[in-house]
Symmetry: C2
Subunit: 114 residues, 2 copies
């Protein structure tokens, strides 16, 4: 899993546990890909301050994951749901199309929850 995807997932799961100030800075850096200098200028703190804050946030988010493992769990479920989808693709025939479609709809709903 690449670093950006991982950071984004961690933020999706645990971001609400950061303070609103932390969230604001972290989002600018990770999600909006602004530079440390840009963020520093707009937040009125030093470049080093932004750097430290982002690092602390990453550490906090990873700390929650180390304890709760929810990203890991969700990724495993997502993989299984995709497996169901692939199995449905493989098994689909003219005769069972309607039944397959019914199950596929539910499995897509699950992916949307994830």
């Amino acid at each position: 899993m690449d670093d950006f995807f991982r950071q984004t997932l961690l933020y999706d799961f645990y971001g609400e546990l950061l303070t609103s100030h932390q969230k604001e800075i972290y989002e600018q850096f990770v999600l909006e890909d602004l530079s440390l200098s840009e963020i520093a200028a707009s937040a009125g703190i030093s470049r080093q301050g932004v750097h430290d804050l982002v690092k602390r946030c990453s550490h906090t988010l990873q700390g929650y994951e180390d304890k709760l493992h929810l990203v890991e769990k969700f990724l495993a479920i997502r993989e299984k749901v995709k497996e169901i989808d692939r199995e449905l693709d493989r098994q689909e025939t003219r005769e069972n199309r309607e039944m397959i479609e019914g199950i596929r709809r539910i499995s897509r709903d699950i992916l949307e929850e994830l």
Copy 2:
């Protein structure tokens, strides 16, 4: 959802974010169903102390859920997976049994992750 089930789920999801002391007392009260007096005697704190600690833990766990909604999310997914299972039961015939069984296995794996 009954209160015991709800407390258990909250503890399953967020219990690791409590301190080990909190976990010990909370488990005795909620999961092992010991009385406040029994826990107080074995932990060497007052009955009121146990009561307050359990109340604070419930509040903390619910606070995490209010922010992250992970119990809610997981319950929704579990419902969908059960829906897939019911749909498979409905659609199973002598001819498609093997295919249905393949999908059912994956959906059971998902339930185990939850």
